[in-house]
Symmetry: C2
Subunit: 336 residues, 2 copies
C-alpha cells in the first residue's frame, strides 16, 4: 500500500506539501498540486483512515447502535438519522449490539472509534453508557431515561401511548382487554403497560393475569401468546399488543382459529410500522414519531458535538392511528 511518503517522493516534493495538496489546502500552487495528484493516481494511493483519525483525533463519523440491525421498526429511524448526519457532513455507521457487552457496539463506544453515538439497545448497560459518554463523546439514548455527562435522552411518551390505546378500546365499549407484553427488561414495554393499567383502573376495569402474556416484541411471540390465550378458552373482547410485530403474529393465530378481527375480537398495536396498514384488517395502532425522534436525536447529537447547550431529556408525543382492527361496540362519544 502506497503511503503519502511514496507520493511525495514520486512527485518530487516534500511530505507536507503532498499532505497539503491531498487535503486540498490552498497554500499549494496548482502546478505542484497537479503533480502530487498525478503521482497519487499512479500509485493508486489511498489515505489511511486510522492514521488520519489518530492524528486528528476526530473521525467525522457517528454510530447508531441498535440491538438488531434487522427489523422493520428501525428502518425509518435509521434513515432519518442518516439524513441528519449527511447534512452535517458526517458519516454514520450502524452497529449491532448483538453479543451484549462484548459486541461491536460496545467496543465502538469504549474505544471511541466514532465521535458520538445514538443508542437504542437495551442490552447495553447504563454503566457502559455513563462511562463512555462525556464531554468529548456525546451520546443520545433513545430507550431509557438515563442522563449524565455528555449523555441525554429522547423518548417517546410510551406511558401516554399505552394509556391512549387502552382508553380508545374502553371508549369503544370493550371491557375485557388483554395486554401482550414485550421483554421484561424493556423500559418501553413497562411504560406501555403502565399506561394500560392506568386506563384500566380509571375505568374500574379489572386486569386479569391470564390475559397478560409475554410475546417478547417479536412476531412469533405474539403468535404463541395468542394461541395460548385461545387454548385457555376464555377470550377477552380486545387485545392490546405491546407492538405491531406481535399483533401481526396474533392476527395469524386468530385467523387460524377462525376468530374474526374485528367482529369477534378487536386488536390494537403499537409503533405503526409500515406494514400495519397492509394487514387484514388494517391495524389500528399507536404511531411512534420515528422520523421525528430520529431527526431530533441526530440534531441534538450534533449540537452536543458543537458544544452547544441542550436539555437533558426530550419527550415526544404519540398519535393514535385508527384503522379497522377495532370494533366500535358502542357509539363513539360516550363518557368513561
Amino acid at each position: 500500500m502506497a503511503t503519502i511518503k511514496d507520493v511525495a517522493k514520486l512527485a518530487g516534493v516534500a511530505l507536507s506539501t503532498a499532505s497539503y495538496a491531498l487535503s486540498g489546502d490552498s497554500k499549494v500552487s496548482t502546478k505542484t498540486k497537479d503533480k502530487v495528484l498525478e503521482a497519487a493516481r499512479q500509485l493508486n494511493y489511498r489515505k489511511n483512515g486510522f492514521a488520519m483519525d489518530l492524528k486528528r483525533s476526530r473521525t467525522n463519523t457517528i454510530a447508531l447502535i441498535l440491538t438488531d440491525l434487522s427489523g422493520p421498526y428501525y428502518s425509518e429511524l435509521i434513515r432519518s438519522i442518516q439524513d441528519v448526519a449527511l447534512t452535517n457532513g458526517y458519516d454514520m455507521i450502524a452497529c449491532s449490539s448483538m453479543g451484549g457487552q462484548d459486541s461491536t457496539a460496545v467496543r465502538f463506544l469504549r474505544e471511541k472509534r466514532v465521535d458520538g453515538a445514538i443508542v437504542l439497545a437495551q442490552n447495553i448497560t447504563d454503566d457502559t453508557l455513563l462511562e463512555s459518554a462525556g464531554d468529548r463523546f456525546p451520546i443520545v439514548v433513545m430507550d431509557r431515561e438515563l442522563t449524565g455527562s455528555g449523555l441525554i435522552n429522547v423518548r417517546v411518551d410510551s406511558e401516554h401511548g399505552g394509556y391512549t390505546a387502552t382508553k380508545y378500546l374502553i371508549d369503544a365499549g370493550h371491557q375485557t382487554i388483554a395486554y401482550i407484553s414485550g421483554p421484561s427488561n424493556s423500559s418501553d414495554n413497562a411504560l406501555r403497560y403502565q399506561g394500560y393499567l392506568r386506563a384500566m383502573h380509571e375505568a374500574n376495569l379489572e386486569e386479569k393475569a391470564k390475559w397478560r402474556l409475554g410475546g417478547n416484541f417479536v412476531r412469533e411471540g405474539g403468535y404463541s401468546a395468542t394461541k395460548m390465550m385461545m387454548m385457555q378458552g376464555d377470550m377477552p373482547s380486545a387485545i392490546f399488543y405491546g407492538n405491531d410485530e406481535m399483533a401481526i403474529g396474533g392476527l395469524k393465530a386468530l385467523e387460524e382459529g377462525n376468530i374474526s378481527v374485528p367482529n369477534d375480537i378487536s386488536i390494537i398495536g403499537f409503533d405503526d410500522i409500515q406494514l400495519a396498514e397492509y394487514l387484514t384488517p388494517p391495524l389500528t395502532t399507536v404511531r411512534q414519531p420515528k422520523h421525528e425522534s430520529g431527526s431530533l436525536a441526530g440534531h441534538l447529537l450534533f449540537q452536543m458535538l458543537n458544544k452547544e447547550e441542550v436539555n437533558e431529556a426530550y419527550k415526544l408525543t404519540i398519535e393514535l392511528i385508527e384503522r379497522a382492527s377495532v370494533q366500535q361496540l358502542i357509539p363513539m362519544n360516550n363518557e368513561k
Copy 2:
C-alpha cells in the same frame, strides 16, 4: 482522556508492561497485572481504537455495505452475515452507500477502515470496487457479476428465477403477463426480466410494451405502475412484479380498483420477504436464499481474509413459493 502512558505511570511500571497487561498477555505477573488494571480503572482508561488499528494495521471488523440500511429485504441478510462475523471473532458494521461516491461506504472502502467488505449496493461503481479490493482487502459483491483481485461475487440465479416465475404463470394458463421492473441499473432486475422474456418466447407468448412498466423496486413504484396499467384499461391476466415490495404496492392499487386477486388477476412477486405470507392473499413468489447467500458471502470473506483459495463466483438457486395470489386457470400438469 487517559492514555496508556498515564496508566503505566500510575501503576509504576513501564509502558510496555502496561500494554501487555492490558491486552492480557501472559508474560506479566498476576500482581503487576492487577496493579495495572487497577490503575486503568482509576483513570477510567480506554484504549484508543485508532492507535491500535494503526499499529496493528488490522481492525478486526468487516463492513456490510448496503444502498439503504432500511428495507425489509436486507434484514435477514444482515443477520446472517453478522452471525458469521461473530463466530469468526470479528465485528461487523453496516454502512449505507446513500450519497454514492461520496458516501460513508465508499470512504470506508477507500480508506480501508475495515479489513474487508460485503457489498450490495448498486450505486457503487465497479471501478471503486476494483480499485479498493486487493490481496490485503477482500470484497465480496452480491449484486453483480464482477470479479478481480481480491474481489469475488456470490449471486442468486435471477435469470432462472424470472424464468421460473413466468413459467409458473404460463403453466397455470396465463397468456398475457405483465412485468413490472426495478431500476434500470440493477443487474438483478435485468436478469429477472431476461428470464421472463425467455419463458415468454419459449411459450410463443408476446411481450407487450404497455405491460412493461417500471416500479423502481419500491412499494410506491409498484402502486403507481399498477394504477397506470389500470388506467390504460386493458389488464393482463397476470402480473409478475420484479420484487415483493412492488407487489405489495400493486396489491393495494388493485384492491382500490376492486380488482380481486387472484380471481380477476394473478400476481407473483420476487424475494419472499417476511411479509409476503401475511398479505391478502398470501403472495406467491420466488424465494431468494437470503440466509444462505449471506452466510456464504460471510464465509468466503473470512476465507479470503485467511488467505485461503476461493472460487471467483458462486451462484445460488431460487425456489418458487406457492401461495394464493395466482389462479390456476387450467389443471396443473400440462405441457407448455
